[in-house]
């Protein structure tokens, strides 16, 4: 199903449906949905919101790509949450402890982040390949365990600044300068890393042998095996890759703004990543739009306090979008499949099909 209709219709339907549902909820609770939406959109033009949306979308994009790599193979890496946080923590510790020339320093930090994410995810991968433990359960457990490991690391290697426990600051040689828009904020330099990862993912998925193996395994493990794809190896490498990309997600903020990992480091990107990957159907461009949409909803929801609308409406909106987008995809898929079968049938009938 390669038609544009089949690709764009479901997300559009889903967003419209979710918007209608949320409008109903808003009306029910006595708020004005049009004003709410106008306020949220108007918000983008104000202050640093546009830049924040972009910056957060970059992080969301990374976690979503990490999720998408797993999804391509029907692997559910629910552990992205733990991977990006642990990776950010370890990368910040290393970044604060070493001293290298400008540029190289940041590269090392990025590599450490990716490696940490990959290793943490690798535990789940090994358990799955060699012990048959469902990655869903193991990554859920690893998410919780990562909290303890982070607490331990920050306590052991961190320092106290006021009331905040954080890792040693990364010196300027390891910081990544951003693109400043004055009072509208600064776009992180590592947003470019997200773009690069996106391009890499697109190439990998559609143009390389590895990407083919990945998709083939996801579509039919049995057919892939008969076609010479080593499924154990694919599970392992896909999980490592997913973990590595997840490990990058916290770094734009750390290298671009905070220069340290504190115990207040944001949470929740991992689950957002799963949802965004679904929204964008694992497609590099689709996921980019999904990340921007998610980030927009997040950032502009901050303004809902101003007009007295509970900002939890945005979580409902996000949940509805995810659910309705998959339902819409399924409905459109069924319709397209039937249509295609009819089309093939007709084509065969005219070329002299062998039946009836």
């Amino acid at each position: 199903m390669n038609t544009w209709r089949a690709r764009l219709l479901p997300p559009a339907l889903a967003i419209v449906f979710s918007a209608v549902l949320c409008s109903a909820v808003l009306l029910f609770s006595g708020a004005d949905p049009v004003a709410t939406l106008a306020e949220m959109i108007g918000r983008v033009g104000r202050g640093g919101t546009a830049v924040d949306i972009l910056n957060t979308a970059a992080a969301y994009y990374l976690v979503a790509i990490a999720a998408a790599i797993g999804f391509q193979m029907n692997l559910l890496n629910i552990g992205i949450e733990g991977q990006y946080r642990l990776a950010a923590c370890v990368a910040a510790i290393v970044g604060g402890a070493i001293s290298l020339p400008f540029g190289l320093h940041a590269v090392v930090v990025v590599v450490v982040g990716a490696a940490t994410g990959a290793l943490w995810c690798g535990i789940a991968a090994l358990l799955k390949v060699y012990r048959g433990v469902s990655e869903v359960i193991s990554t859920i457990m690893l998410n919780t365990l990562s909290i303890g490991v982070i607490a331990y690391l920050v306590q052991t290697f961190g320092e106290l600044r006021g009331n905040t426990l954080g890792t040693a600051a990364i010196p300027p040689s390891g910081q990544v300068p951003g693109l400043s828009f004055g009072s509208a904020g600064t776009v992180f330099g590592l947003v470019l890393l997200s773009v690069a990862i996106g391009v890499g993912y697109a190439l990998l998925r559609d143009r390389t042998r590895y990407g083919f193996d990945l998709r083939a395994t996801g579509l039919s493990p049995t057919a892939a095996r008969a076609g010479g794809v080593d499924s154990k190896k694919m599970v392992l490498t896909a999980m490592l890759l997913s973990g590595a990309i997840a490990g990058l997600a916290g770094l734009p903020e750390i290298l671009g703004r905070d220069h340290t990992f504190t115990i207040n480091f944001p949470t929740g990107y991992g689950f957002a990543g799963l949802a965004i990957a679904l929204l964008g159907r694992n497609h590099p461009v689709g996921v980019a739009f999904g990340a921007l949409l998610w980030s927009f909803l997040d950032k502009s929801s901050l303004t809902l306090d101003n007009i007295g609308v509970p900002k939890e409406i945005v979580i409902i909106l996000q949940g509805t979008i995810v659910l309705s987008v998959v339902v819409a995809y399924e409905l459109v898929r069924r319709r397209e499949l039937a249509a295609e079968q009819r089309r093939v049938g007709r084509a065969l009938a005219t070329t002299g099909g062998d039946r009836a």
Binding site: A151, T267, G268
Partner: protein, 353 residues
Amino acid sequence: KDAGGRDGGSASGQGCRLAPPPAAAPATTTSSERTRQPLPDASQLRVGLAFDIGGRGDASFNDASVAGLDRAKAEMGLAEVKELDAGAGESEDAKLTRLQQLAREGYDPVIAVGYAYAGAVRTVAPQFPDTRFAIVDENVQGIPNVTPLVFAEEQGSFLVGVIAAHRSQNCHVGFVGGVETPLIGKFEAGFVQGARAAAPDIEIERDYLTPAGDYSGFQDPNKGAEIAQGQLDAGADVLYHAAGASGKGVFSAVHSAEAQAIGVDSDQYHQPTVAQFKDVIISSMLKRVDLAVFDYVAAVARNDLSTFPTKFDLSIDGVGYSTSGGMIDDLVPTADAYKAAIARGEIQVSDTP
């Protein structure tokens, strides 16, 4: 059917061998003296308030800052207050945005509630040099338009430690922390020192729900109850909690064991969400965020921050203990003696456990 619950750790002992309290001495200046100067007119001020997670209704420092502003409205005619709420696990830029939004909309002063705003205030304050910022719980220094509102939690906790030691029949008390952060560490440190000062042989249980970074420890009353039950089972009979919403669980466990509890931050005896347990809340460690906020607004209205206290400690009643319910009335002289000794500097209370 169980009647009052099992007497897991209820008092059966004879109490501690108590150390004599320090000699009482004339009290030093208190805030009541300072505020005796006439209140300024704040009707020109529009205050922006940025909450930390928990937000309005947390019955803790968020609510206390609201209370301070409410009083400012009532007594100084404060014109307008704008509150913005925070979300759990949000990223730094959300905090930045919140402060910037308040500053840009012309709110002055802007009060950031919670040390989580430390980085954001450091970033935003220089961008708005004409706006005055205050931050609760973090000693941000070196930025001219930022005023820290910090407290000597360890001193207040010291006093409730003394009270706990005097009230314990088993000579065994407990501390339940929510999340093992440095800030909560100050509560633990003070409580332990206070209890030891009053009863050198006392046994003290100390537990946290979760380690640093896992903020679910402030939001899990069930685990709070289990930890408290564990301490009660171990023999503790007076528990002090600094566990946010998980404190409810502590109170309920204490309640069903018919032991005694000490609240935190505000006077929890009067707090509606735990009203069913009030008869076991013998006291609360008071952290007067309301007072600090009120004083700060007054100082801003007066346009004179030079005499504003650098730390709200016992000497200016920035921290203290409550006596609501009258369950510790007999201990007031003792506690006040310790209080005076601390205020005089005779007793130094360390802020790390």
